[in-house]
Symmetry: C2
Subunit: 259 residues, 2 copies
């Protein structure tokens, strides 16, 4: 029996777009999370229920994001997800975004763990929680590419941010999407306008709490075949919170990122 | 002939809510703006068309926001707007949010001007642009209450923010909603969790650009009849960009803001 799939449509409002009318990476993540939340609820294992009943909550540890074309403001996209496979500690979830003609825009692979909300420790995934997804039980879930690290002597650029009340979710942790905002904001507006991300590998290491300061550091790597690589680190209290590698494509002269 | 009314539904996703699951003030503003954008487009006077054809764009100068109950995450609300009246330079637009039972949640009065996009100067409102709204031509549009200012010797709290790439809209100015984020973030998380805004008067004075630093200052006023007043100023380059007065109500013990 294949894993259960869930789809919903989403129309991108202007405030989910950036200065070039393309959906921001942080809103893209939000919309994916919304889709998986809705599948969870539909299958009777809503995030809030898991917390209330077991004291457990799903947490993403890694995303691998492939972007063929970024959704644009006013586009209606179809978001699809399924909990494809799992083992004792890890669950592998896939996401897709399609345009109205059925063309694939974005494909996302993600790895999740179940976290004890109080102890903040990873727990085994109980059958009762995973069963509704009809996920395949496997020995090993797919390994997603690890983001690179920035060498200490590299010529990187850093910006500091204080975690805002609006950055945190109901259990006091920074919502994942905000890491993407800190990462992209460390790049110049000029760079952001003239480039489009095509591949992002991101890994969450340690949680950041309200009021903390974070340092967003980026290394812009040399150009190679029209692709530019940026390596990102979010550090808080001398601890790595999140790292990512982005591959970017230069937009053509008219600012149209479509190939 | 009364002014044309336009309504649309909106379901609040988790990422438009705060730590208490209530819609954030900045998302509330975004959703109102989206509704007026859609009315503009429906009436053949979309913001982008005005810019392309006349070099003019609508800009809000003042909001007066009355909140009976804030929309909550997962709520579906009905957003309604009309361009009620106008004179030579000012247009008065009203907004409402209703719950699914038809109860009024939020009422907003707003004052708009038409700005020359290049010169950044206010222009007279041409008949051709205002005619589709069936707005009433009046001598004076309603005067909205002016926010208070913070006395120089007041015991205020300030936080500094650098304008991010994600704060600005397609023409390079800070999206109005972000002022609300800077204003509320200057308050403590504890305050934000235990209080609900019931009335906000906000006035935009000067635009802020990408890369600038802004100082968000707040004065928390003494309690009076269960209502707390906060006075806010956003200052950039020694110039007042935006000021606001908020009235807040203490939430009851269970954190339920409903009366």
């Amino acid at each position: 029996m294949p894993a259960k799939q869930y789809s919903e449509n989403h129309t991108v409002p202007y405030y989910e777009g950036d200065v070039t009318y393309r959906m921001t990476m942080s809103m893209l993540i939000n919309v994916l999370m919304l889709c998986s939340d809705h599948q969870n609820a539909k299958l009777g294992v809503a995030q809030q229920d898991l917390i209330d009943r077991y004291g457990l909550g799903w947490v993403v540890t890694q995303y691998s994001i492939k972007i063929k074309r970024l959704p644009r403001v006013d586009d209606t996209i179809k978001v699809t997800t399924r909990g494809t496979s799992y083992n004792r500690f890890f669950a592998y979830r896939e996401f897709w975004m399609h345009d109205e003609q059925g063309n694939e825009l974005v494909k996302v692979d993600s790895i999740w763990v179940l976290m004890d909300e109080k102890a903040r420790k990873i727990r085994e995934i109980p059958e009762s929680i995973i069963e509704p997804y009809q996920s395949e039980k496997v020995r090993r879930v797919p390994r997603l590419p690890r983001p690179e690290r920035i060498a200490e002597d590299a010529e990187s650029i850093s910006k500091k941010y204080q975690v805002r009340a609006s950055d945190i979710d109901f259990n006091g942790h920074v919502n994942n999407a905000h890491y993407l905002e800190w990462m992209t904001d460390a790049l110049s507006l000029k760079f952001l306008i003239s480039h489009t991300p095509v591949q992002i590998n991101i890994r969450f290491e340690n949680e950041v709490k309200y009021g903390s300061w974070v340092m967003s550091t980026v290394l812009v790597d040399s150009e190679d075949n029209d692709k530019i690589k940026t390596v990102h680190e979010i550090i808080s209290n001398d601890t790595l919170s999140c790292s990512a590698t982005f591959l970017w494509q230069k937009n053509d002269v008219k600012g149209n990122e479509d190939k």
